[in-house]
Assembly symmetry: C3
C-alpha cells in the first residue's frame, strides 16, 4: 500500500519541506533505498550516503536539506523512522485461520480472529486473545493464556500455566515457564525443590530466539510491560523485571533477583541470585554481579565482580600501568 | 488427593507436634499458602512471614513452634519440604497413550505404558522404557534409547544413538547428541573431524531448556547419574561428568574435559578443553578455566584465568587499592 | 561398504607400507577400533594406545611403523583421517522422499531429489536445491531459499527470506533470520527499529545446535563460505563474517560488527557492536571486545576489555605479584 510524504508528516505531526505527494511504499537504508522508500538522516557523518541515495523522502532534523528530496522535519529522525515503519507496515491482518493440523481441544478458548499455524499444539484450558497469531510447532501447555495481538513465531513453548499479556512477540525457540533450577542436597543426592509457580509476561514485551524464562518455584517470575529481551537470555525462577528494561543477548539472571524499571544489561552480563537492581541501573557487557548485591538507581557497573564504572576504569588504568609502577618501585629500592 | 500431617510425619520419620489430622493438599510459599498447603520454616528471618501465613502445617526444626499450626519436626526443613512435595505430587500416572499423530515405526520398541504426545517422531530402532512420557514435537533419532519413567518435555531432540537412563527429565528445546565441533584445517579449508561417537546420560539426570550436549567424536560423551544441568548449557564432545555434579545456566564445557563427582559450576562458567576437575571442585560464576588445567578435589576457583578463590580475593583487594599504592610510590619518589 | 587400504592410499595420493588389501569399513579411536577400522597416529604420546589397538590400518607420518599394521603415510595424519572419514562415509544418498505429513505449498520449488522429513513446514515461495535433506519439524518461512546438498537437522527455523548456500549443515534448534534487537527509546517506551533485512549464509557452512543468527535490520547479515559456528552462538543483525572464520560455543557478536577471513573466537567470547576484526584475528575464550574497536590482522586478544595477549599476560603476571609489590612499598616506607 502506498502512502505519501504528506500523510506521513501528518501522522508524525511534523513539518514537510518539498512535495507532499512524494509516494512512500517502504523504509530502507540510504544505500538500498528505491525512489519510494523512506530513509532517515541524523548525523552529518552520513550526509554523503544520504545525498547519493535514490530515496526521495528523508526524515531529518528541522532545517536540514538534501537536494532533490522531500524533507519531513523531526527532532529525532531515528525515532520517527521507527514509528513510520510501524505505520507503513501495519502488522499483517490476522487471517483468522486455524490450520487443520493444529491440535486444539474443545476446552481451549480462542477469540474469533486468531491464527494458528500448522502442527501447533494447544493443551486443555488454554486461552488465546483476539488478533493473536500462533505459528507452526508452538506448544501451549495446559492452562497457558495469551492476550491480544500477540505473535508467537514458530516453535515457541509455553509450559502449563504461563500467562502472556497483549502485543507480545516471542521468537522461535523461546521457552517460557520451564522448571526453575533448584535442588536441596541431602542423603547423597539432589532433591528437586518444587518448581510449581508461574510466569507472567506483561504487555508489549519482545522475547528473542532460544531465550529461556523459568516459572517461579513457589511464587512467580514476572516480566514487566515494555521489557525487551534478546536471544539466548536466561531468566531464572522468581525473577522480577520492571517495565521497559532491556536485556541484551546471552545475559543471565539468577533466581529471585529483582530488576527495576528501565534497567539495561549488556550482552553476556551475569546477575547473581537475590540481587536488586534499582530503576535505571546499567550493567556493562560481560559484567558479573555477585549474589545479593544492590545496584543503586541510575548506577552503571562493570567487570566481575561488578563495581561502579568509574572505579573499574581507574583500576583498569592502573592495571595497565602496573609494569611501570613496578619499575618505579625497583628504582626506589635501588636508591 | 489430600493427605494429613500425620501421614507426612510418618513418611518423613519425623515427630509431630499438634493435630495429626491437619489436611495437606499441596506445598506453597508462606505468602501464597492456603490452609491445606504445607510450608517450611528454616530461618528466623522468615518468622513473621510464617506466622502470618494461612498454612496450618509447618516443617520446622525440632523445638520450633508457630502459634496455631501443626509442626512436623525435622533437622532440615527445606530438604523435608522437597521430599514432601515429591510425595504429595507423585509424577502424573502415565496415560499409556500414543497420540495418533505420533510417528512410530514398527521397529521402535515401546514398553506398554509409554505416553507419546502429538507430532512426536521416533525413527527406526528407537526404544522407550516403561512409564516414560515423551511430549509433543520430540524427535528420537535412529537407535536412540530412553529408559524408564523419564519425561521429555515438548520438542526435545535426541540425535541418532543417544542413550538416556531412567528417571531423566529433559526440558523443552534441549538437543542431545548433536555433532561435536571439531575440524582439521588444511588445503585452505576446515575439514570436519568425524563426529560419530555417542552420548550416554545416566539415571536421575535433569537437563534444562535449550541446553546442548554433543555426542563424542570417536568415543562418547558421558553424563553421570544424578547430574543436574540448567538452561542454555553447552557440553562439548567427549566430556565426562561425574555423578551428582551441578552446572548452572549458560555454563560451557569444552571438548574432552573430565569433571569428577559433585563438581559445581556457577552460571556462565567456561571450562577449556582437556581440563580435569576433581571431585567436589567448585567453579565460580563466569570463571574461565584454561585448557588442560587440573582443579584439585574440593578446590574453589574464580576469575579468568581461574585461580584459587583466596588468591583471586587477595589480588582483587590489591587491585582496588592500586590507586592508593601508586600514590604511596609517588610520595616515596618525592622524598 | 568396505574399501581397502590400497584404495584409501590412492584416494589420498599417499604411500602405503604393508598389505594394500587390508579391508576398511570405518574410522575409530585407537581404543575402540575393530580390525577393519582406520585409525591415525600423530603423536608419540599415543604410541602405546596405537600399538594396543585392534586396528590393522594406520594413518601415520612417513617413516612411522606400527608392528602388525598397514601404514598409509601422510604428513598430516589427522587431516588425512578427516578426509578418509568423509570418503568412507559419503553423505547418505538422498532418499528423494517428501514425507506425507510435510506441508509443502504448490509455490515451493523443490529440486527432484530432495528429502523432507515428517511435519516439516515450508511456506510460500520457498526453494530447496538438489540433494538437500530437511528433517522433521524444520520451518522455512516465506521465500526462504536453500541450495544443494544441505542438511537441516530436526527443527531448524528459517525466517522468511533467509538465503542458505550449498553443502550447509544446520543443527537442531538453530534459528536463522530472526529479528534483530534494535529499538529507539522515545515517549516513554521502546519503539522497534525496523528489522526487515535478510540473512545470507555462504557455502560449506556448519551451524551448531540452538545457535541464533538474526537478519539484518535494513541491510543483511552475511556469513561467508566455509564458516563454522558452534552451539548456542549469537550473531546479531548486520554482522558480516568472512570466509573460514570459526566461532566457538556461546560466543556472541553484536550488531554491525565485521569479521574478516579466518577469524577465530574462543568459547563465550563477546564482541561489541560495530567492531572490526581483520583477517586472522584471534579472540580468546571469554574475551570481551568493546564496541567500535578494531583488532588488527593476525592479532590475538584476551580479557575484558580485550587487549593484545602479550599485554594481558604481562598485566596478569603483575597482578599476581601485587601483594609482593605492596610489601616492597611498605618496606621502602619503613626505611
Amino acid at each position: 500500500m502506498t502512502q505519501t510524504a504528506g500523510e506521513l508528516a501528518k501522522y508524525l505531526g511534523a513539518n514537510l519541506v518539498g512535495d507532499a505527494h512524494t509516494p512512500l511504499s517502504g523504509v530502507a537504508s540510504a544505500a538500498n533505498a528505491s525512489e519510494t522508500d523512506l530513509i532517515y538522516f541524523d548525523s552529518q557523518r552520513h550526509r554523503e550516503r544520504v545525498e547519493k541515495s535514490r530515496a526521495k523522502c528523508v526524515l531529518a532534523r528541522p532545517g536540514e536539506r538534501v537536494a532533490g528530496t522531500t524533507i519531513v522535519e523531526t527532532p529525532n529522525p531515528k525515532l520517527a523512522f521507527a514509528k513510520a515503519a510501524a505505520w507503513l507496515f501495519p502488522q499483517e491482518a490476522p487471517r483468522a485461520l486455524i490450520h487443520p493440523t493444529a491440535v486444539v481441544p474443545p476446552s481451549a478458548r480462542l477469540a474469533t480472529d486468531v491464527t494458528i499455524g500448522p502442527y501447533a499444539v494447544l493443551e486443555e484450558d488454554t486461552e488465546v486473545g483476539a488478533g493473536t497469531r500462533i505459528e507452526a510447532f508452538c506448544f501451549l501447555g495446559r492452562g497457558a493464556r495469551i492476550g491480544m495481538n500477540c505473535r508467537l513465531h514458530p516453535r515457541v513453548t509455553l509450559y502449563a500455566g504461563a500467562n502472556i499479556g497483549n502485543r507480545v512477540e516471542i521468537h522461535s525457540g523461546a521457552v517460557i515457564g520451564s522448571d526453575g533450577f533448584g535442588y536441596v542436597y541431602g542423603e547423597g543426592r539432589h532433591w528437586k525443590f518444587p518448581q510449581i509457580g508461574t510466569v507472567r509476561i506483561g504487555d508489549d514485551v519482545e522475547i528473542g530466539a532460544n531465550t529461556t524464562i523459568d516459572r517461579g518455584s513457589l511464587d512467580s517470575t514476572d516480566i514487566g510491560s515494555g521489557v525487551k529481551i534478546d536471544n539466548l537470555v536466561q531468566v531464572a525462577h522468581n525473577v522480577q523485571i520492571g517495565e521497559h528494561s532491556v536485556l541484551a543477548a546471552q545475559t543471565g539472571i539468577s533466581g529471585s533477583s529483582v530488576l527495576g524499571k528501565r534497567v539495561l544489561a549488556g550482552g553476556q552480563a551475569g546477575i547473581g541470585d537475590h540481587c536488586t537492581l534499582e530503576d535505571g541501573a546499567i550493567v556493562g557487557g560481560q559484567a558479573g554481579i555477585l549474589p545479593g548485591k544492590i545496584i543503586r538507581s541510575g548506577q552503571t557497573v562493570w567487570g566481575t565482580p561488578a563495581r561502579p564504572l568509574e572505579k573499574f576504569r581507574r583500576q583498569f588504568a592502573w592495571l595497565a600501568r602496573l609494569p611501570e609502577l613496578a619499575e618505579r618501585v625497583r628504582r626506589l629500592e635501588g636508591d
